[in-house]
Structures are given as structure tokens and as C-alpha cells.
Assembly symmetry: C2
Homo-oligomer: 302 residues x 2
Amino acid sequence: MPGAEEKNVAIIGLGLLGASLGMALKQSQLHRWGWGRRSEVRNWCLEHDVIDSSAENVEDVIRQADLTVICLPIPAIIDFIKRYKQCFKPGSIVTDIGSDKGVIVSSGEAMLLPYGVHFVGSHPMAGTEKSGCQAAFPELYDNAEVFVTVTNNSCPEAVTAVESFWKQLKIAQVRRISPTVHDSLVAHTSHIEHLMALALTLAVLECDSDEEEALRYSGCATGFRDTSRIASSSPVMWREIIENNQAAVVDAARKCENIYHEIISSIENGDFDHFEQLFARGKFLRDQWMDYKKAQQEQRKK
Amino acid sequence: MPGAEEKNVAIIGLGLLGASLGMALKQSQLHRWGWGRRSEVRNWCLEHDVIDSSAENVEDVIRQADLTVICLPIPAIIDFIKRYKQCFKPGSIVTDIGSDKGVIVSSGEAMLLPYGVHFVGSHPMAGTEKSGCQAAFPELYDNAEVFVTVTNNSCPEAVTAVESFWKQLKIAQVRRISPTVHDSLVAHTSHIEHLMALALTLAVLECDSDEEEALRYSGCATGFRDTSRIASSSPVMWREIIENNQAAVVDAARKCENIYHEIISSIENGDFDHFEQLFARGKFLRDQWMDYKKAQQEQRKK
């Protein structure tokens, strides 16, 4: 049975998130196994005390792990479970760090439960625009919110064990959530932000002439810089994230599109009273949210 | 005739932009007249060496100014010129700091040219979310891009004099521009950013239930924070800015709306190859723009 007695953790994938997790777990009581496809990466992580042990064959790593954390891109998480489902230690727990939960959790549960292995999805809201183990650092997860999924198939002890695992780090909080609610939430608070930043970047910087481009370059201010920042993220990674959260993203994006359309129409129709009302409401909501976030940070410092 | 010999500058409006301008001009050879509607503000600015002189009646300030800089909200700039057009010193120059140029420049020229006063529009891209003279600081204009307008009615010497005026500050550069090109530029690089930030804020934080709101609060990450930042700006000020740049804003906003629509449709139709291509193009354009901005900053430091 899973529980507090687990001793071996296996980190699968030693990129930014996996290697940073190894670093952050250094002070824990866990023996840190780690595995990545390339031997250079495994050796680098062993030499830099990111992990305690490794092996050439991943089967030798996961068969002794009480908890396996799969730190791979979303399609690779599902492929990994599919390929090695019979190699995990029976009774052990498998979790992941993927940004979408519906697709991962349903396939993870379906593939692992027949082998007596518990799957519980995790989503630590942490990351940078960089990638690879050499970009890793032990503070990556500090103050992160971590979502842990619960479904009708979840073993309560396994969920608690995954929550306890994350609480060893200096994270802000762990929050239990259903995969569906999670995916709608991140569609609103992270995914559509990337779509809007992308639309804005293309609207501003895709120019018809060199003169127009030169002008746009000179005129771009902090408003554009900040609002478009996340358009500089990885296209492949964001394709995978959006592709695996299609329905929730389309839903949230259409809602935002309708509001954007209402704003533009109020301007086109010269209804500036309505425009000002919308702006005042937006400012009120955002200022209230910022106040809440600041108060939360203050409380954590105490 | 206007020229390098001007000695008296009048700053009309002693809010954030006007008072900061006074502070930044302290080391200049100009005698700094300043005027604000409230006597407390005028006295505060005199006491804090923001300006050298003031007067109760604004006529007494502008009639001796070689250059008048109107630092008021957009509708107030136009109202001020209308009301005091016969009080400016003949042959002197009037400029402003408004974010829209078409409306201001056409009315400024039409009202002042009959009195032998030159109007040249300025738009220093500087500001913070705060307002009022107590929020002013002498570095506000440091590294700002300043646009100076040129039209068929412009007196070349007056344009040069306004450019020289701004070059006394530690700004990045002065760029001559037609009011129409200016207004299209800021519609793209500043105004539609505010509309998108507003749409996003309303889509994310306007919730149907308390539970949904609590969840959104916990899930909001840096992507939302940065992309929505400018939605916390002043609704009244932004109503004025958008209202006075209606056509260019609608044009730029519709362009952005079409691209956003194309992005959502590619996701809805499952055409993720196209989505990834769009994302890669956006990332390429933004990274290129960031490299250019960084190189420009490096060059300035030398």
C-alpha cells in the first residue's frame, strides 16, 4: 500500500522540471533515482548531485520506485506509461507534471490500474522559458501552486501520498481538483493568454513594408512588451498543451473573443460610456485580484 | 520667429507628466513657468523647485512663453487652446504631450495659426499607472521615445525647436511623424494592448459562482498577471485616448481580432500543424524584436 513509508522516488525525464525537482529534493529523506534518455544527461545529473542513482535501462529505475514522477512533455508522458506499464512496482504510485490533466489522468488510470499501480496527476505551476537540465535550479518550485487530481478511481491514500510529496518542497499550496475543472481553469488562466499574446504579436509585428516595420520597432512600448511576453514560449510545447486541452481552450477562447468583440463594437459604435463601464469593471476585478495576491504573499512571509 | 533663442517655457498642467517635465528641465537654460488649476499644486511645485515661476491667471504665464507645453488630458488640451488661443505670444510655439495626435494637431493648428502661433504636436512615450504632481520624478522621461508631428502646415523652424526642446532631456530619440501615421502606430503598439488586456481580465475574473472565483484566484499565474497588467490603468484616461483615436483603433483591433479568430479556428478544427506554424512565426517575430530592443539599449549605454 502507498503511504508515508515510501523511500525511493524515480524522476523520469531530467529536463528543466525533472532536474530542478531532483535539486529541490536534496534535503528530503528520499533516495532520488533519475533517468533520462541520454547517458550524458544522466551522468551530468549524477555528477552535479541532482539525483543519487541512475541506470541505463529505465525498467531498473522504476521497478524499485515507491513513487515515480514523470517529467516529460505531454505526449511522451502517455507514451511512457503505455510502454512501461508492466514495469512499475505493484502498489506504487505514478504521478506527472503535465499542464493538461484530463487526457493524462484518464489514460494513466486506465493503463496502470490493471497492474495494481496508482496513478494520480499533478500539475505544479512552475517553469521558465528555458529548457534542459543545465537551466535547472533548486528554487524553481518555490511558491508554486500545485494541483493534484482526484477522480472516482483515485485511491485516497495515493492522493494523500502525492500531496505529501509536493509539500516537502517550498511550494505555496497543494490543491485537490478534478481533471475537468483543472483543464478549464488553466485554459482560462494560462492557455488563452498564450493565444492572445500570439494574436497581438502577429497583428503588431507582421508588417506590409520595411517602413512600417521600422516604425513599429521604434514605437513598441512596455504595453506591447509585457502583453506579448509569453508569445516567446516554445511552439512545440504549446502545440502539445493546446492539442491536449482542445475543448476547454476553445470554450475559454470563444468567451474571451466575444468580450473582445463587444469592446471593439462599443468603440466602433461610439458608445464610449459603455466602453468606460467595461474598463472600470475590468480594473476593479484586476485590482481586487492583485490585492488578494499581495495579501497572500505577505501572509506566506510571516 | 521661433528658434534656439527661446528662454521661457510654460508648463500647463502640473500632474505626473507636467511636474516631471519641470523636474527634468531643472538643469536646462530655460526659465520654467508652470501653471495648474489649483493654487495648492502651484505652491507645492514652487516649493519643491519643480518650476521657477507661476501666476494665478494662466494668461500671465502663457503670454511670456516662447514655448508652451500643454500637459493636460486630451479633451482638456483642445479646450485649453480654444479658450486661450488669443493669449499666447505671437510667434511662439505651443506643443502638448497627448497620446493621440490627429485630433489635437488639426484643432491646434486651426485655432492657433490665425494668431501667428505655431502648433507642433509631441508625444513622449512616458508615464506610470500613477497620477498627480506628488507621483512625479525627474527620470520619468529618461530613455523615452518622443514623437514630434509634422504636417503641411508646420513651420520647419518650429518643428526643429520642439525637437531641440525634447533633446535636452535624457530621452532615447526624437522621431518626426505625421499625425495619421502616429495614430495608427500607437493604435497597434499601445491602444489594442489595453483592449486585449481588458477582454482577458473580464473573461478570467468575471465568474458565475463564488467557487469558480475562488478557483480562478488560486490558479492565476504569471501569464495572466503580465498579460492583464495594463487593464489596471485609468478607465477615464483610456476612454479619452480611445475616443480620440477611434478609426485607427478599430482598424488595428479588427486586424488583431481576425488573427485571434484564425488561431481559435485552427484549434477548433484540430489543425494543430497550422497552429504550431502561427506560434513559431509569432515567436520568431517577437524574439527578433526583443533582440533589436536589447541591442538598442546596449548601444545607448556606450
